[in-house]
């Protein structure tokens, strides 16, 4: 049985799971995918992390991004809201990016430009474009719907469930398939390898460090590598906290006035 997974969890990941029920001997694919999705994206009811991204392009030039990301689940495993508040570089300081993630249909996205006091709505049809110029994609941040791929369990070793995932609608994505390694104990997606139309691996997303935060396994360091052109982005998640009691800050009000959880 196949269903999809979101591997992307690696990025925002930070936020997720409720205690995992004792794993059965051989869970079916749907269970693995569901569990991994929750572990990677739905830890606690809400969460916060300070993110530092280091982007290295194919020629070795380095850029950095620093932002605070806030997340709140509308329903566990379902819709969620994200609020990203930029601190660096200084030309994007205090800019805010907000997403209302939908399970069916396109997400709603907004950008707030403080210098113009402008609340801009962003077209969100293509989720597989770069997030703030990094090697992470929008979909890595807010999660790829588990219903968008067909999932097959292709192997199990001591540590991982290995799944292959094929998009149901290949025209909407740049990959033809991706393989994902899911930790058998924690159900954290640890690595994803994307293949192009020729079946060649070109992109790897990895969780480099996972820590326990308030009982939730949490990726605190992750990396995306562009294998073909070179270049990578490493994200470090500091001060990860769950269940901080975020109110309804995912509105225009708080685009114009950042909530205290997002500010220094």
């Amino acid at each position: 049985m196949k269903r999809s997974i979101l591997l992307s969890g690696l990025f925002i990941l930070c936020i997720l799971w409720k205690a995992v029920p004792a794993a059965e001997e051989l869970p079916n694919v749907k269970d693995i995918v569901d569990r991994a999705n929750r572990v990677a994206y739905y830890a606690g009811d809400d969460g916060k992390a300070k993110v530092s991204m280091t982007i290295t392009d194919s020629q070795g030039r380095v850029r950095t991004r620093e932002f605070v990301i806030l997340r709140k689940d509308v329903s566990d495993g379902g819709e969620q809201n994200f609020y990203v508040y930029f601190n660096k570089p200084s030309d994007v300081r205090k800019m805010v990016f907000m997403v209302h993630k939908k399970i069916e249909g396109d997400d709603d996205r907004w950008l707030y430009l403080p210098a113009l006091d402008l609340v801009k709505r962003i077209a969100a049809s293509d989720k597989r474009t770069s997030f703030v110029g990094s090697h992470f994609l929008y979909e890595d941040v807010s999660g790829r719907s588990i219903h968008e791929d067909e999932h097959t369990l292709i192997g199990t070793d001591e540590k991982y469930y290995i799944l292959n995932n094929i998009p149901k609608d290949p025209s909407t994505v740049e990959f033809s398939s991706y393989k994902i390694w899911i930790d058998r104990k924690s159900f954290m997606p640890m690595k994803a390898e994307y293949r192009d139309r020729d079946g060649k691996a070109y992109r790897i997303v990895e969780a480099l460090e996972v820590e326990d935060v308030q009982g939730h396994p949490t990726v605190v360091k992750s990396r995306v590598k562009d294998i073909i052109n070179g270049g990578e982005t490493v994200s470090i998640f500091d001060d990860v906290t769950y269940d901080i009691g975020l109110g309804d800050i995912f509105t225009e009000r708080y685009l114009r006035r950042a909530p205290k959880e997002a500010r220094k």
Partner: protein, 430 residues
Amino acid sequence: MITTVYRNVISLSLLMFFCSFSGVISNASASEVGDWFYDQYETELYGFVEARQGWRLQDDPFEKDESISEARFQLNLSKEFSWGIGKFKGDLVGDRVMDEVRGELRELFISLSPFDFMDMKIGRQIQTWGTGDLLFINDLFPKDWESFFTGRDDEYLKAPSDSIRASFFSDHANVDLSYSPVFNGSTYIDGSRLSYWNGVRIAGSDSLFNDHERNRFFRDDEIAVRIWKTINGIELAVYGYDGFWQTPEGLNRETGMGIYPRLRSAGASLRSSLLGGIGNIEAGYYDSHQDDAGDDPFIRNSEARFLAGYERELAADLTAGIQYYLEWMSDYSEYESSLPPGAVRKDEKRHLITLRLTRLMMNQNLRLSLFGYFSPSDEDLYLRPKLHYKISDSWAVDAGGNIFIGEDNHTFFSQFENNSNAYAGLRCSY
């Protein structure tokens, strides 16, 4: 010529000096300035230094060849207090076109939330609302058209206003109220920097347009209101405004100077995701009630305004947007019959189409964009091509143009034909 080059070298050297001095040559140290300051004073400090130079692409008998030539230093300070936030943003500008050094206070406000359901911002601030992309109907906050037409960064299109803004939030609806005790007004094209149609001919620095300021506190005041709500991702808003035309749309017959006639407006907007993109519509009625009947040729008539827009990604990192915009004059026959002999007659309807194309390349460090306004009724065109490249986290260059093309001398964009210009800028953010 020599002097020009010499001066440019000086501005550029100054810029380099500022940046080196602040230690922002490398990315690492760029952020350190702000971090160090925050550690010392618990106050955020950031901003930029930039040099910007532009030239007219043709001769203008009334203006300098240089359309812009300035060095700008912007400082932002922001501090959190127990009761709220204080913010300062100011620019220091060395402007060779105007031959002056000036300070521009862009923001100086306090922001607080006296109640759970209420936010306030008091002081000098930038305000924006409405759904148009570089078109404004219900946003009657001040603009700076000189900045827009000469190639300053987009942020300078919005001019500050001295206002008290109170916002109220509830499950039923949200309300923004903005009160300015004295009229702010937009920076319009008066001939000092850009040439324009003065009603008779193209004029410039030889014939500056002057206006009678609206400057009486609490009498020349403005109030703007927006009531808004988002339902299932559909953003709905209604707007009201009571104040004045933002540019001098009237003429004092005796002095020959511009006046800011009274204006009331009401309107509404809707914005939502639509077919994989974003669609928006907005309408407003401008009640120019100092000339109720529309038969005073020296005061702009009332008009209805409407816009509809759609934007979507065509491919990864390629976005296109299109808008249709209409200005529809009320009491057109009164306008026609009251027009002085020899005066140019405006059309009853002004149609405008805009197109935006934005392409991001090189890990989004290079942004190529084109924004175009085309009016089939005025038969004129305004193109804004722009290239912006982030050299590093601190340094960015941009280059672009403001190209005006038209049939007649008097239409909105066509009048600026002699101001068509190209510019380039270098900015170092800290």
